[in-house]
Amino acid sequence: MEATLTTDILFYLFSAAILGCGLMAVTVKNLLHSAIALMGCLFGTAGLFLLLDHEFVALMQILVYIGGVVIFIIYAVLLTTHLGTRYLPASTLKYISGVTLAAIVLGLVLHIDPQATHTAVNPDRTATTIDAIGYRLLDGSTNGFLIPFEVISVLLLSAMIGAATIAKHQKPGATNDEDETGGSAS
């Protein structure tokens, strides 16, 4: 998209949403509220990707991040906290160290090359089509991503199985045994 007034306005709107929600996500006390703020932040990012002509990434952001990861996070919040949970504040020392570290990183990153402003968009560029992505992912040559793609598939599968195994309920019999002996694992 050409850099017009419209895109500029949209960009700054999205940036404001991303940064505002991002700040909320790390500062709000209530865990569910910060998960919702993270959702807003991810939505803003998806909008930004649409602005940058990466439709597929934007939709994947919504599909996997918001529809999957954030829902999982909210699910975990629902399972582990409830209204009335007291949220202990972090110590001042942690706050100071957090702010300092964040500032240092921000300074470093912004310091690297503040002058490298590629405002010009390559006039011949075309948006990446889903066909191109598919062909590249299944391309076995040196330019392709076949092996990483397969590895990531196996990783996902093993992660899913692992997660299911970890979160699986213990057998009721086992719990009862421990109760009767009075020993709780510590």
Binding site: M1, L5, T6, N30, L32, H33, I36, M39, L50, D53, E55, F56, L59, M60, I62, L63, I66, G67, G68, V70, I71, I74, Y75, V77, L78, L79, H82, L83, G84, T126, A127, T129, I130
Partner: protein
Amino acid sequence: MDTSTHQPVQQSVAERLDPHTATTPLGDWVRELCDAPDGGNLLSMTINVIIIIIAICAFSSLTAMVLVWMERKLAGRFQRRLGPTRTGPFGLLQTAADGLKLFLKEGFRPNASDPFTYYLAPLLPLTGAFMVLAVIPFGPSMWIADPELGLIFISAIAGLGVLALLIGSWGSNNKYSLMGGLRAGAQAISYEVSLILCFLLIVLASGETNLLNIVEGQQGNFWNWWIIKLPGAGFIAFIFFIITSTAELNRTPFDTTEAESELTGGFHTEYSGIAFSMFFLAEYVHMFIAAAIGATLFLGGYNAPFEFLPDGWWWLMAKSYAIIFLYIWFRWTFPRLRIDQLMALEWKFLLPLSLINLVFAGILIAMGWIL
């Protein structure tokens, strides 16, 4: 609704997402008024977008009204009674009266609930519904946005509906609500897998993710629709789509999330007045959307069943309402499944069979055994 004559789409994504490039009589008139006949400026674009938003709002509230009336009438017929008859002709104004009642009701919030999440939750489902409505091709020149990845867009947005239930159920601070919300989360995430596999089958068959192109690919007589064109596989996938979409819509026999005899209303136990009517409205708009997507993918969308008949939005409406009739029929016939049976149905039955069906369809396509 913003419309535009459809050319074989090879515009860039940005161009197609840009409402000011679409040409319609109404849009052109707005542009002329704003002194921008070619391409449009910020003012005309804003006005056009507002027109689109109003059109979607009006359409979805009208749809919800008609669907609620239809459900009540059909439920009456299924149950050997008449359904609403008093308010307006054939009881048509019953929904309006109900809506009015809900809007005038006191918005009541439990004291111990969490205001932010409690009030945020009712707003979300309709937002998602509006976003999906924008990409459904209602007719050959009748759509709002036509993204290249329409089908992925739909599956992405459809997954968000459950967020509202999760948030609202937690914010209500009620054990029944929370149970309903947790059930909703588990159910939606599980059934989405099968739903996306159904979508994938269409992508595999048509080689398209763009909804307009999928519909255009089914032109001609009714045996060109994917439900028949893919012998066997299309029909199985359609049945799976109906089952999974019923589950995604939280309707009987999969309405464990609001199961009134167990959870006294589930996630919306603590909602009343406008907040409740938002959930209610969204439920019916979602029902229309699911039916419209089913019609678009499997039943040829706005295409007429025979070549000599004119195509148009009325065909999409007729097909959608036929599917909606199925949903209503299910609801007033079947009892409710238990939550563990529901999950077993998905993971032990629907998911493996969808995968097998997908492979089967792949073989059909690879061998060219398509009607």
